[in-house]
C-alpha cells in the first residue's frame, strides 16, 4: 500500500518504511545505539528530500531513545545532573546547527554538508571502534584484563567551576561536558542523529564515566536534545513529517526488541566489531557517492520558490 507523506510530498510503500524502521530498530537494539546515523542516509537513499529526512529522523530518534531511556531509568543508570549540564551545551549547539542548516539550504550545499559530516564522523568513529574492539577481542582471548582504576584524572577535570556528579562517581569542571554537549547538539541538527555514537565514547574516555551510566545519561540527553531539535526544525524549516516519523517508530520499536534479544547472545567485543564494520560500510557508501561521477551533473533544487 502506497502511503502519501504530507511534508515530504511523495508516496512511499508502507511496507518499505516499516521494514526500514524495523531493520534500523533491530540494529539499534542489537548495538545499543539510536540508529539515527543509519536512518538519515537510508531515508535519503529511498528518495525523501534530505531536509525532511534529517528533521524526521530527529523525531524518530527521540521516540526510540525515550523507550530505551525508560528501561535505563528503572536500573538507575541515568545521571540527570550530568545530563542537564550536557544539555545546556547541547541546546546552544542545536540552535546554532538549525540556523547553519537553513543557511546551507539557501546556498544549495545542504546535501554536501550532510554527506561530508557523515563521512568524516562515521569514518573516524568506525575506525577507532574497529581498532579498539579488535584489541579488546585479542585481550579477552589471552588473559583476564588487569583491574583498572575507576578513571584517570586528566587536565580536563581540573578546569574551573567544579561540580560533583554522585551517580557518575565524578568530580569535574563543567566545561568538558558543556563542550561535548554543544558539539553533539550541532551534529544533531545537521545530521539528524542523536549523537550517541559520539557522546558515549566521549563520556567514557574523556570524562571517565562508568559505561552503563554513560549510556543511560546519553539517552536522557538525546531525548531532550532531539525534542528541542524537532521543535526547531518544525518551527524554522517545517520539515518534520509526522506521518513518516510514526511509521518509522512503529517498525523501529518492534525491531529494537528483537535486536535486544539477539544482542544478548553475542559477546560485547564481538558486537563492537560488528557495529564498527557497519559504521564503516555506511561511511564508504556515502564517500563513494561523493567521489563517483554522478549520472547527471545537473539537478533541480527541491522546494524552489516556496
Amino acid at each position: 500500500m502506497q502511503l502519501y507523506l504530507p511534508i515530504a510530498e511523495l508516496s512511499v510503500h508502507i511496507l518499505l518504511l516499516l521494514s526500514l524502521g524495523g531493520g534500523v530498530g533491530f540494529l539499534s537494539g542489537l548495538f545499543g545505539v539510536g540508529g539515527g546515523f543509519l536512518m538519515t542516509p537510508l531515508l535519503i537513499f529511498i528518495g525523501i528530500p534530505p531536509a525532511v529526512a534529517v528533521a524526521t529522523a530527529t523525531t524518530q530518534t527521540m521516540g526510540s531513545s525515550f523507550s530505551a531511556m525508560l528501561g535505563h531509568m528503572r536500573r538507575k543508570n541515568v545521571d540527570f545532573r550530568m545530563g542537564a549540564v550536557l544539555l545546556a551545551g547541547g541546546v546552544a549547539g542545536s540552535a546554532a546547527g538549525v540556523e547553519l542548516f537553513r543557511l546551507l539550504r539557501e546556498l544549495g550545499q545542504v546535501d554536501l554538508a550532510i554527506s561530508l559530516a557523515y563521512v568524516g564522523f562515521l569514518g573516524t568513529i568506525g575506525g577507532m571502534m574497529l581498532v579498539e574492539s579488535l584489541r579488546a577481542l585479542n585481550r579477552a582471548r589471552r588473559t583476564e584484563a588487569a583491574r583498572r582504576k575507576l578513571h584517570r584524572h586528566t587536565w580536563v577535570h581540573g578546569l574551573p567551576l567544579k561540580m560533583r556528579f554522585p551517580r557518575s562517581k565524578l568530580y569535574t569542571s563543567i566545561f568538558p561536558p558543556l563542550a561535548i554537549g554543544a558539539s553533539v547538539g550541532l551534529l544533531a541538527a545537521i545530521m539528524g542523529v542523536g549523537g550517541g555514537f559520539i557522546i558515549v565514547p566521549a563520556m567514557i574516555y574523556i570524562l571517565g564515566m562508568p559505561t552503563t551510566a554513560a549510556i543511560g545519561t546519553s539517552l536522557f540527553q538525546i531525548v531532550v536534545l532531539m525534542g528541542f531539535t524537532t521543535m526547531m526544525h518544525a518551527y524554522q524549516n517545517q520539515t518534520v513529517d509526522v506521518v513518516l516519523a510514526v511509521i518509522l517508530l512503529l517498525g523501529g520499536v518492534i525491531g529494537a526488541q528483537y535486536g535486544l534479544r539477539a544482542g544478548a547472545k553475542l559477546k560485547s567485543e564481538q558486537l563492537r566489531v560488528l557495529l564498527a564494520l557497519l559504521v564503516l560500510a555506511v561511511c564508504l557508501r556515502l564517500a563513494y557517492d561523493l567521489v563517483a561521477t554522478p549520472d547527471d551533473l545537473y539537478s533541480i533544487a527541491p522546494w524552489s520558490g516556496s
Partner: protein
C-alpha cells in the same frame, strides 16, 4: 416602458446568438477533463486524467490534428550543476528559471512536426522542446542552453514533463479522448488543459478547461498545521513520539 425595452434588447441578443451559431459551428471545439479536483489522500499514488471532447468539423479528415497540453502551476525553478572540487562533486553553478510549469504534459494525434507548423509550436510552447522559460538569476558564465536542456531532461525523468505524440485517440466522428498519467509527486495548485485544433498545420481554435490538485483530508490538515501552527505541530510530533516510545517500553517490559 422599461420592461419593454429589456424585452427588445433580449430578443436582439437572442437573434445575435442565433446568427453567430452557424458561423462558429465550422470550428466548434468542446472539451473537458474527467476530474475537476484531484485529491491527494493518504494512499495517493498518482492520478490518471482523461481529457475528452468533440470537434464538430470531424477529425478523420487528413490534416486535422489535435494537440493537448496540461500545464501545472508555474514557479521559479533552480537548476544546479555539479563540478569536481578536490575530488568531490559539489554544486558549483546554478540558474534560476521563472515561469516554468511544475507539470507539463503534451499529447497529440500525430508527431508534432507533422501535425503543426513550427511557428505555432514556438508561439504556444507545444512540446517540451519548445518550452522557453525565462532566465532569472544565473551564475556567471553558465551555459544557459545546457541548463535549460537539463531542466527539461530532469523533469521528464520524473514524469513531471511528458511528450506523448499519438496519445490522443479519435474515437469516431469528431469524438476524441486522451489519457494522461500524473505521477505521485504532482504539486498542488491550479492546472490548465489546452486543446488545440489544427488544420493542415495551422491553428484553428483552442479550448481551455481547468482542474485543481489539492491535498485533502488529514494530509491537508497536517500540512496546514505544519505551516500555520509550527509550534503546535512540533509539540504534537514530540508528544506522539514520546507516547509511542513509552508504549513500546511498557509493552515489551520483562515481567
Amino acid at each position: 416602458m422599461k420592461a419593454r425595452r429589456t424585452l427588445v434588447w433580449g430578443l436582439a441578443g437572442l437573434a445575435l446568438i442565433a446568427a453567430a451559431g452557424p458561423a462558429r459551428a465550422v470550428t466548434d471545439l468542446a472539451s473537458d477533463v474527467s476530474s475537476r479536483l484531484i485529491e491527494i489522500t493518504s494512499n495517493f499514488s498518482g492520478a490518471s486524467l482523461l481529457i475528452f471532447g468533440y470537434a464538430r468539423s470531424g477529425l478523420e479528415r487528413e490534416g486535422t490534428d489535435l494537440v493537448i497540453v496540461i500545464r501545472g502551476p508555474a514557479a521559479e525553478t533552480t537548476v544546479r550543476r555539479k563540478e569536481r572540487v578536490a575530488g568531490i562533486w559539489v554544486n558549483r553553478s546554478e540558474v534560476t528559471f521563472s515561469g516554468v510549469p511544475d507539470v507539463y504534459a503534451m499529447a497529440s494525434t500525430r508527431a508534432l512536426d507533422d501535425a503543426t507548423r513550427a511557428f505555432f509550436r514556438q508561439v504556444h510552447g507545444l512540446g517540451t522542446e519548445n518550452l522557453r522559460p525565462e532566465v532569472g538569476a544565473a551564475t556567471e558564465g553558465a551555459d544557459l542552453e545546457a541548463f535549460r536542456a537539463a531542466l527539461i531532461r530532469r523533469k521528464m525523468e520524473a514524469d513531471l514533463f511528458q511528450d506523448r505524440p499519438g496519445a490522443v485517440q479519435v474515437v469516431k466522428d469528431g469524438l476524441f479522448r486522451a489519457e494522461i498519467d500524473l505521477p505521485a509527486t504532482v504539486p498542488v495548485g491550479q492546472y490548465a488543459v489546452d486543446v488545440y485544433l489544427f488544420a493542415n498545420g495551422a491553428l484553428v481554435t483552442r479550448e481551455t478547461s481547468y482542474f485543481a490538485v489539492d491535498k485533502s483530508g488529514i494530509e491537508r490538515s497536517l500540512f496546514n498545521l505544519a505551516h500555520e501552527q509550527p509550534l503546535l505541530y512540533g509539540l504534537s510530533a514530540i508528544t506522539l513520539a514520546l507516547i509511542l516510545g513509552w508504549l513500546a517500553s511498557a509493552l515489551f517490559r520483562r515481567p
